[in-house]
């Protein structure tokens, strides 16, 4: 198993967002998290990513986590290539400019344009390129389809297939068309 979460709960103040939740992700598995707004999909992904400490429960992870946030964040004064360059450096990896160029070309983004001038869809594409370069074992995607055009959704489909092949992927989504691409659907209900 890549993820084994048992009896996970998260409370913000007096409000329980997650309660007594068990979740597993096997290697080469793609799981969709579905449910209405506010049910805790994003919170669960953030807990699994280690960005939020759960109030209760235990989590076992095997391998490195990659997280595609919605909306994704980048340094706006840097170009797309610079953002990828520093992301790799801070990951502890040596710089590979050819690899960065290739990744940008794959998602159809310019090399030197500052992120300040990017649209939401372009930022999402850049986030996909970053995740592809980081190549984590566990891929956590929060509403990855948001702001993407038809071509972008094709790229995302490729990314999900790649993620499944290289590790495991969890997708929080409202888009029913993704359900045919995953192995399992987990529906969260309000507590």
């Amino acid at each position: 198993m890549l993820i084994e979460a048992q009896a996970v709960a998260k409370r913000y103040g007096r409000d329980w967002v997650l309660r007594d939740l068990d979740f597993q992700l096997a290697k080469h598995e793609a799981v969709a998290l579905v449910g209405p707004n506010g049910v805790g999909k994003t919170t669960l992904l953030r807990v699994l990513a280690g960005l939020v400490r759960p109030t209760q429960g235990s989590i076992k992870l095997v391998g490195r986590v990659g997280f595609l946030a919605n909306p994704p964040a980048f340094h706006r004064h840097f170009s797309g290539a610079e953002n990828l360059h520093y992301a790799l450096r801070l990951d502890g990896r040596a710089d590979d400019r050819a690899e960065i160029d290739r990744a940008l070309k794959q998602v159809g983004l310019p090399h030197d344009k500052p992120v300040l001038s990017y649209s939401s869809g372009m930022k999402k594409r850049l986030a996909m390129a970053r995740l592809r370069l980081q190549n984590p074992d566990i891929w956590l995607l929060d509403e990855p389809e948001a702001a993407l055009d038809v071509q972008g959704r094709g790229l995302l489909e490729d990314l999900v297939n790649f993620a499944r092949a290289s590790g495991g992927v969890v997708i929080a989504t409202h888009d029913k068309s993704w359900l045919s691409l995953v192995d399992r659907v987990v529906e969260l209900r309000a507590t």
Binding site: A49, P54, R64, F67, R76, G92
Partner: protein
């Protein structure tokens, strides 16, 4: 690799695969500081506002204490360190302000390895900014307040040690408050009480230098500064990873 997390324990719940790592933690610390410096100089808001604030403050104080050179020289050490402390409080939020403005703090937290290196990277960035501003300040104080810089190397030493202690605390609090609203107000309130020993020791050493007292007689103040630096950096680095937990 496996790692079990129990709530309430201080251990981090997650470990990361490090097979692709090829840079040492020290290199990553330098890369983080370098990236932040590049971002800061591209944005220019923090450094420019601090330098402008300093220039105005020194000019007003020089008008208030002057024009007698003896009076100005007497006030110079206090003015130097109080001005640096105020400029430092303006710059203190920059270490994590860059991440907060762009919403990239989560990406930093997702990078592999334990989070102490983030503290050291941000500390190096903050320290570099303070040194840059401190050098400008030293020259302005020498020009406006007749601060004698014959012992310039010792002025640089006390600037380095004082800035390190200040940056150690300000980086820690900036990280702790990064996700909070009203952090700009809270940061100086938390920061100033803890930097008093650093500022006091630095003022006394600088005062002695300005009066021409031999460095050997002032070395206790320098030692005190060094001890505070070691304590602050060590404690802050140890506690910092838990401050970032959501």
């Amino acid at each position: 690799m496996r790692h079990l997390f129990h709530p309430g324990s201080l251990r981090r719940p997650f470990t990361f695969c490090t097979q692709t790592d090829s840079l040492s933690p020290v290199q990553r610390i330098f890369w983080l500081a370098w990236r932040d410096l590049v971002l800061e100089f591209r944005g220019r808001t923090g450094i420019l506002s601090a330098v402008f604030f300093l220039a105005v403050m020194l000019f007003i104080l020089a008008m208030a204490f002057g024009p007698n050179p003896q009076d100005l020289q007497k006030a110079a050490p206090g003015v130097l360190w109080v001005a640096l402390a105020f400029a430092g409080s303006l710059l203190a939020g920059r270490a994590f302000g860059l991440e907060v403005e762009d919403g990239t703090l989560d990406d930093l937290l997702l990078t592999p390895g334990s989070r102490e290196w983030i503290y050291f990277g941000k500390l190096l960035f903050q320290f570099s900014l303070l040194i840059l501003v401190g050098l400008v300040l030293l020259l302005l104080t020498a020009g406006l307040f007749y601060l004698p810089l014959q012992n310039w190397a010792w002025f640089v030493v006390v600037l380095l040690l004082g800035s390190l202690g200040y940056a150690a605390i300000s980086t820690f609090y900036a990280g702790m408050l990064a996700r909070l609203r009203g952090r700009e107000v809270l940061l100086p309130l938390l920061l100033f009480p803890l930097v008093i020993p650093v500022v006091l020791a630095a003022v006394r050493f600088t005062q002695g230098l300005a009066q021409g007292i031999p460095v050997a007689e002032l070395s206790d103040w320098l030692r005190l500064l060094a001890v505070f630096d070691v304590i602050y950096v060590t404690v802050c680095a140890m506690v910092f990873p838990y401050m970032l937990e959501g």
